[in-house]
Amino acid sequence: MRWVNRHAGRGNRLLLGAIPVLLLVLLYLVVAAQRHAVNPADKILPLPGAMASAISAMAFQPDPLSGQYVFWADTLASLERLGIGLGISTLSAIAVGLALGVLPPVRATFGPLVTGIAVIPPIALLPILFIALGLGETAKIALIVVGIAPVMIRDIAAHVEALPREQIVKAQTLGANSWHVMIRVALPQAMPRLLQAVRLALGPAWVFLISAEAIASDVGLGYRIFLVRRYLSMDVILPYVAWIALLAIVMDAVLTGASRKAFPWAHGAGH
């Protein structure tokens, strides 16, 4: 049988997907064990026990200095920044994207500006944001917004613009004005695309969050990773990275599920 025609069943797919992950874990364990056989105090590749005790100390024992449970405080702070940043970006993407996509005069006026902002590397703006907005939460959230909103806006605008012309004409022959076309024709059809855009923006959003936290912060997942780097604390860094990956995967899955549930017509309902 040709490889293009081989489809794995559901159980087999899970198994196949798990194999490379397990192999990587195994490789890590073997190499780590070898290093520890030579030098029991090795910090570069910590054994699982060391990681577990380091994380449990941060997650379940209050920090003697601040009294906080550091792991959870970091997670909460990062998720809050990410959430506010994603929220602002999503709202502006839908509002600006719709106006740009549906209304030709708005597109002609603001299209070049959005394109211009979108091509600026956001990290290059970070100093400006820190100078203008201070080193507090605002600058970090602003970096996320500046980083992902223009791309999302352009994506939504392009999607709305690509709606068949026939639909827009038909809506008008049914008595719709510009506002109706926006909220009854373009908005609902842009929603699945919006969730898709948020999913794709999650990756860059994490990048900007970690960057902002690494440079100026006192709490947060990115801050902690860059802080403990000074002590070569791989036993903290590795679990933190895994935790970030897990959070990202959960968010992605939730968005996909929400889109399928809320917009069945966009996911090939029927035939």
């Binding site: 049914l174 008595g175 017509w265 309902a269």
Partner: protein, 260 residues
């Protein structure tokens, strides 16, 4: 019969290129006008003109004696070959769309008693096109024929003065197409519609229409083919009144236009 739509010396030009020239046409209320013609003879331009998607370069288009605004409006319904229905709305909501827009300028949605009234009207319209059992399906769950039925219901619920059909049955199987011909003939009679249909299919044009208009170029300059536009080269008033005798359609010969 009274004249509903009239085109007075209408030209459509794109820069140097002339698409339609000197088009003079009066369309009576209650007629079923089929427009045929070779590709590139301005059939689509003609439809866009009446639809208001673009204004004529010269000349006037009058609906009920009033010049037409160069914008689509609810007095002219349309059914395209494809993309005529909204994929994100169920059949019922697709038909209610027109009723909701008219009565709710800000939300575009109706509530309470007015919503129920609109729903009733939409269900009745869906019944008229034979989709009463499918009203909760999304367009993606429907066949091509059902989608076109839905598009017709959606347009008719607004009771347009003119119904414009742009190759409405072009993408359908022959069997389905015959059903659709019966449906549109019945609706035309029952709702006393005025229909302008653009089609490639000459047989369809003659079976359905009470009047067949052929758009083509009268003159052809081999050195500057773009300098002459199309106009109505044939304008055949078919001597049939389908209101009384729908089976009369079979006696029409299609040779009249065969050497065009």
């Amino acid at each position: 019969m009274s004249v509903l739509l009239s085109l007075r010396d209408v030209w459509v030009e794109y820069g140097e290129r002339i698409v339609i020239e000197r088009l003079e046409l009066d369309i009576d209320a209650g007629s079923f006008v089929s427009v045929v013609g070779p590709s590139g003879a301005g059939k689509s331009s003609f439809l866009r003109l009446i639809l208001g998607q673009e204004p004529p370069s010269r000349g006037k288009i009058l609906l009920d004696g009033v010049p037409l605004a160069p914008e689509c409006g609810p007095d002219r319904g349309v059914v395209f070959q494809r993309y005529s229905v909204f994929p994100h709305l169920s059949a019922l909501r697709n038909v209610m769309f027109g009723l909701e827009c008219a009565d709710a300028p800000f939300t575009g949605r109706l509530f309470g008693a007015r919503r129920r009234a609109a729903e009733e009207q939409a269900v009745e319209m869906l019944g008229a096109v034979g989709l009463r059992d499918s009203m909760h399906l999304y367009p993606a769950q429907m066949s091509g024929g059902m989608q076109q039925r839905l598009a017709i219901a959606q347009a008719l619920v607004k009771r347009p003065r003119v119904l414009l059909l742009d190759e409405p049955f072009g993408a359908l199987d022959p069997g389905i197409r015959a059903d659709m011909h019966q449906l549109i003939t019945r609706l035309w009679r029952e709702y006393a519609l005025t229909i302008v249909m653009v089609t490639h299919d000459i047989r369809e044009a003659f079976t359905l229409g009470t009047r067949v208009i052929a758009l083509d170029k009268r003159r052809h300059d081999p050195h500057a083919p773009h300098r002459f536009g199309a106009t109505a080269t044939y304008d055949l008033l078919l001597k049939k009144d389908m209101r009384q005798n729908p089976s009369a359609q079979e006696v029409i010969t299609i040779d009249a236009i065969g050497n065009n």
